[in-house]
């Protein structure tokens, strides 16, 4: 079953328009279209930011910045260069990572890692995300331990690959390769279109 943000045609069974088309309308200043964008992406954006930043109050702030940025820069989304949801998630991830890497947050990092595993399964179940979640979990399972740890420490905990190498006690070159190979495996397992 296609996830709502991946629907190709304008208007699916539940009346949702395709995200890329909505972004196009938002770029022209259409606030109604943006409200529909919000319905589709606010959960994924907030969830990802919360996962990286951890603190709910800060996460809300960052998510707000990201979503306003989606509106402000909608004209910069280029369908030739990937899916609309990937564009939004890239904005969200970049902002979240910037927040945790800022000087003030640096002090909390040790603690974040300590909590990361504990909170892993405490994320509220969200109906729309469940299928996605199961598929991603299954695909993560096809990675080697080192590939999986390299990818998730970077993506979910916001570490640089240098920090990941340090944490896992492996050479830099190994981490670079594992991140790349791990993502390639994820891509192939998820059946992401080669754009």
């Amino acid at each position: 079953m296609p996830r709502p943000w991946q629907r190709r045609s304008g208007g699916g069974g539940d009346g949702r328009a395709e995200l890329g088309a909505l972004l196009g309308r938002a770029a022209r200043g259409d606030q109604d279209a943006f409200e529909q964008v919000y319905e589709q992406v606010s959960g994924p954006v907030y969830g990802l930011v919360l996962r990286v930043v951890r603190d709910p109050a800060q996460s809300e702030e960052v998510a707000q910045e990201v979503l306003v940025d989606v509106w402000r820069t909608a004209s910069r989304y280029d369908p030739e260069r990937g899916s609309a949801i990937a564009w939004v998630m890239t904005l969200a991830h970049r902002r979240a990572v910037d927040r945790v890497r800022s000087a003030q947050a640096a002090a909390d990092r040790e603690e974040r890692v300590a909590r990361a595993d504990r909170e892993h399964d405490e994320v509220a179940e969200h109906v729309e995300a469940r299928l996605e979640r199961e598929q991603v979990r299954r695909c993560l399972g096809t990675l080697t331990d080192l590939q999986r740890e390299s990818v998730t420490l970077a993506y979910y905990s916001g570490y640089t690959y240098r920090e990941v190498a340090e944490l896992l006690h492996v050479p830099l070159g190994t981490v670079k390769t594992r991140m790349r190979d791990g993502l390639i495996r994820m891509r192939d397992c998820l059946g992401v279109e080669d754009q």
Partner: protein
């Protein structure tokens, strides 16, 4: 170097590069279609990791975002690689030919003047460098220059009596094409621009130490900035 950069494609897709590496990689992407394609695929895969942790946000977020949106104007589309499009209907080829003739004439004249000027300038600059290096109160300070783990350093030779400082970088990679390193006087007041560098093996000769207590070096867009737009990757103390 190309191979080494390309190996970072996975780390780039999950934002695991530091600022400088990220910019270098993005410059590389602009020239390498196969890397751009691979990056897109890996980004799509990474996005799934993101959507898999979707969580409903608090209801008030919607109100806040929509309130902001009603006050913020969307950016206009970016035109072909950021360059403004040429106005339609201009006989630009003719204009171009005429302009080219004029440019050639002007250049011929300018080259002669410029060469002399450059020579005088270089002479003058050498003299100033020697004056700083040989000043009795000169002080030499170095500090690590953290631009991606190459173990680089920034070195400053400064003299209060000459009111000048010489700044060099060693073992620091060249700035990416669209960036430059900018040297700043830093102290109790706003940072003041002191000069630009593209990498190791160049010097900045900066005048007017003023109340500065430190020299900072940042990464800036090509051409430099009026105020730092990134955190200094190196700070070197100035003599008091």
């Amino acid at each position: 170097m190309k191979q080494e950069l390309h190996a970072l494609v996975g780390a780039y897709a999950v934002d695991a590069l530091d600022d400088l590496e990220r910019r270098r990689f993005e410059d590389h992407l602009a020239e390498c279609e196969s890397c751009a394609r691979e990056t897109r695929g890996l980004r799509e895969a990474a996005a799934h990791l993101g959507t898999a942790v979707a969580t409903p946000p608090p209801a008030r977020l919607r109100e806040k975002v929509l309130a902001d949106v009603s006050r913020v104007r969307p950016l206009p589309p970016q035109l072909s690689n950021g360059r403004p499009l040429r106005p339609r209907g201009t006989p630009w080829l003719l204009n171009l030919a005429a302009a080219a003739c004029l440019v050639v004439a002007v250049i011929m004249g300018a080259v002669a003047v410029f060469a002399q000027h450059r020579y005088n300038q270089a002479e003058g600059r050498n003299r100033e460098v020697v004056q700083v290096l040989s000043a009795p109160d000169r002080q030499v300070e170095s500090a690590p220059a953290e631009t991606g783990g190459t173990g680089g350093t920034a070195t400053v030779v400064a003299s209060r009596s000459q009111n000048k400082a010489i700044v060099t970088l060693a073992k620091v990679p060249d700035a990416p094409k669209t960036r430059t390193y900018e040297v700043w006087f830093m102290g109790p007041n706003k940072p003041r621009p002191a000069g630009l560098l593209n990498g190791s093996g160049e010097i900045v000769l900066a005048s007017d130490l003023g109340d500065a207590t430190q020299i900072g070096v940042t990464v800036e867009p090509k051409g430099g900035s009026d105020q730092p737009t990134t955190e200094p990757f190196s700070m070197v103390a100035l003599p008091t």
